[in-house]
Structures are given as structure tokens and as C-alpha cells.
């Protein structure tokens, strides 16, 4: 059975109702309470940083700096989603880090000798794109695909990259992305659409990396193993 367009369940937005008291305590200077928030959101903060800057060590530094900045600026948090507020700080720190790196480009020795970031960072090895999660060949292909997509992400302009990462990697809503990036909803839609289209064009240059179910061909030349049609396209079953 071919995967549907929602083969990978979109990440569910995290509920923050239980965090009001914790945030209030953290705002009064309770570091232990702030650490509860860090524990809850450090994954998403690091995830966004990693995909935006594309380097694990730099992403870890950016995350740490963002968390420290959030701690110092906690008095200015005026309610709403803490995750969105934190991601705003994280994306700003990412942009700062990228600006610095542009001025002083460096390649760390670790990058040259260490395994790919995906393997070091404990990245999700989700089985949704491959039929057998234990198939080493499929796993290797998936890692190659991830590395390729990450490289493609880095070719996007920063504003499109941030919008696409927040939307498609972390599953934020358009409204949340507008708050994080402090832009209009229409701008967010446009950035996401252009970013996705550019990534799609990049992926089309290496179609063999894509799972077979997503290698779309015309109706005149249907894929051999997808007799049921192209997955996820309305009206084509």
C-alpha cells in the first residue's frame, strides 16, 4: 500500500497550559523552574538550530546562547506560547551565527573526520519513508537522502529556510511562524511555498534518492509498483 500524503504524521503542537505556573516561577528567578522549560523545549530549539545552520556544533552553541538569552529576557515574556517565543530567540541567534560565519568562514576538523551530523546527533531514524526500518541498505539510502535534503535546505535563502524548517520539520502553524519571524501571514505562505518549490526542484535532480512511492511519473508512464496511482494526489486513485 503506498503511503498517503500524511504518511508521516505531522508533529502535534505542544500544549502549554500546564506551564503557566512554571513560567511565573521562572520569571521570579527560579532557575529550577526555568530548567523545566529548557528540558521541555530544548529538543525543538536544537532541531530548528541544526536545520537552519546545518552544523551540529554550531547548532548546539546557538541553542545554548538562545537559552541563556531567553533566561535573561524572561521578564519580557508577556504570555502566549513559550515555545514560539523561544523559537523567535533561537532563529535570531541562528541568523546572527550565520552572519558571523559568513564573515569568518571556517571548517572545523570535526566536520572533516567525524561521521555525519545525522548519526552523531541522535537524529530520528524514522521508518516512515522506508518499508523496512531494519534494512541497512534502505537505512543508508535514507541517511543519504537526509544529508542531501539538508544540503538543499542550506541553499535556500535564510528567510525561506527558517519558514520551511518551522513548518515542515517542526510542524508549526502559519500563524505561529508569522509570530516567530515577525512577518505577515501572506509573507509566511509565500516563503514556505517558494522554499518547498525550490527544494522539490533540487530533489528532482536526484529522484533515485526519493522513496519509490514519491517518484512521480506521468499517467502515460505509471510506476511499476504503484498501480493504485500517485500517492496523495486528489482525484487520482
Amino acid at each position: 500500500m503506498p503511503p498517503s500524503s500524511d504518511a508521516l504524521t505531522p508533529p502535534q503542537p505542544e500544549r502549554e497550559d500546564d506551564l503557566r505556573d512554571v513560567i511565573a516561577r521562572a520569571q521570579r528567578g527560579d532557575v529550577a523552574a526555568f530548567n523545566i522549560l529548557v528540558e521541555r523545549f530544548q529538543r525543538v530549539a536544537f532541531g530548528v538550530a541544526l536545520r537552519v545552520v546545518g552544523d551540529q556544533d554550531l547548532a548546539a552553541d546557538v541553542t545554548q546562547e538562545a537559552i541563556l538569552a531567553a533566561y535573561k529576557a524572561l521578564g519580557r515574556f508577556r504570555g502566549g506560547s513559550f515555545r514560539v517565543w523561544l523559537l523567535r530567540i533561537v532563529t535570531n541567534q541562528c541568523l546572527d551565527a550565520l552572519r558571523v560565519r559568513k564573515r569568518r568562514p571556517t571548517i572545523s576538523l570535526d566536520q572533516l573526520v567525524a561521521p555525519a551530523d545525522e548519526e552523531r546527533a541522535g537524529i530520528a531514524h524514522e521508518a516512515a519513508l522506508i518499508d523496512d526500518a531494519w534494512d541497512p541498505v534502505a537505512l543508508a539510502e535514507q541517511n543519504e537522502l537526509r544529508a542531501y535534503v539538508q544540503q538543499a535546505l542550506l541553499t535556500l535563502p535564510e528567510d525561506q529556510r527558517i519558514a520551511v524548517v518551522l513548518s515542515d520539520v517542526e510542524g508549526l502553524s502559519y500563524e505561529e511562524i508569522a509570530t516567530v519571524t515577525q512577518t505577515q501571514l501572506g509573507t509566511v505562505k509565500s516563503r514556505i511555498a517558494r522554499g518547498r518549490a525550490r527544494l522539490r526542484d533540487t530533489l528532482n535532480q536526484r529522484p533515485e534518492l526519493l522513496p519509490r512511492a514519491y517518484r512521480h511519473t506521468s499517467r502515460a508512464d505509471p510506476p511499476a509498483d504503484t498501480e493504485q496511482g500517485t500517492p496523495g494526489i486528489p482525484g487520482r486513485t
Binding site: P3, S5, A7, L8, P10, P11, G29, V31, A32, V38, E39, Q42, R43, A45, F46, G47, L50, R51, Q56, A60, I67, Y71, K72, G75, A121, G122, I123, A124, E126, A128, L129, Q142, L145, R146, V149, V164, V169, G171, Y174, K189, I192, A193, R196, A197, L199, R200, L210, Y214, H216, T217, S218, R219, A220, T230, P231, G232, I233, P234, G235, R236
Partner: protein, 222 residues
Amino acid sequence: MMQQSKIPNNSHIGDELLSERMDDLLAPAETRRVDDHLALCDECAARYAGLQATRAVLRSLRVDAAPRDFRLDIGEYSREKVVAIRPISRPQRWLSVAALICGLFLIAFGVFGTTALSTSNLDEVLRAPAASSAGGTNGCSTCTTNSAPQATHVPSAGMTSTNKTPQATSTAKTAQTPVPALTTAPANNAPPDRNFVPIIFITLGLFAMIAGGAGLFYTRPR
């Protein structure tokens, strides 16, 4: 009123519309129109499938866990936070206000006070000998004669009673004549050392105002 469709007639659908369709952001009628078009148009269907594949691959980039713990060290940051959020205490605010007021007074005195003093007391003292020198005396209370020794008491710069500089000597030679410089000096032609007085006051006042203002408006470090 019927809503205008975003799909152009006899042409393909744009990526933005396809992206919105994929995220279910379109109105039901628009969604139907896009779906109808995708069912018939291979090119748009391919682009749509590409977008779906891209999104699926991007979702697989989600990180499972942070590579390390980013929690703050409680001992270290508790102290920093306490210092950081402590508001400026009341005495410091009063000091700031007091510094502002002092600064204002100093500047006002520098501008008006020294001028008033110079035109009243100081110049009166300096004018006094001039007024009495009309009869041939220099008016100095310490002098008992009208002859040469008075030269040592002429309040001229660079001359004291014990230090006989060449300037003093030359003054002594011409001591028979009254000293016109003292009798005719107007208030605003004060000697250079007196011109510094208002400047000093104004400068001190400005410093006090800057310090007071900084203390008043710099409320809480972040």
C-alpha cells in the same frame, strides 16, 4: 458574491496555491477546483506530488532529542538572576534626583551667578582703587606714600611683592603715572582666570545632571 478563483483559466496552478492546498488552507470551493485541475493536468499533478514528497522528506529531518543537556547551572545562574532583577533601591533614586537638582543649580549659578558676582562685589573691590586714584594716590590701604613703592601693590598678573620680575621693574620705572588699566576695565573684560569660574560651574553641573539622569532612567539591567 461569488469568490474569484485563484486558478488562472487554461493554465497551470502556481506553487503557492498548491502549497496552500497541501496544507488545507483553501476554502472548500477552491479546494474542489484545485483537485479537479490536478485530476486532469499531469504537469500540475507532478509538481503537487513533488511538494508532497518534499514535505515528507523534511518531516524525516526532525531531531529526536537534543545531543546534550542545555539546562542552566542552578548555583551559577541563581546569583546572576538575583543581581540582574534587583531594582534600583530608593536611596539611589533620591541620589539621582538630588544630582539632577544640584546640576541644575550649578549650571544656573555658572550662567547667572558668577556674572552677577563679577558685576557687583568683585568689580567693586577692583574699582575702588581706581576711584581714589584720581587724586594721585593708588588707594591701597597698605601704602602710605604716593611714590614708587606702590608699584609692588599693583594687582597685575605675574607680579608679587617679593618677586621682582623684569615686568615689575619696568612697572616701577613708570610708577609715577596712575594705572589706567584698573580704572577703566569694564566688567566683561575680566582677567582670564575669572573667566574660568562660570565654565567650571557649568561643567560640574553638566556632569551632575548626566550622572543623575543616568541613575534615574537606567532602571533595571536585563
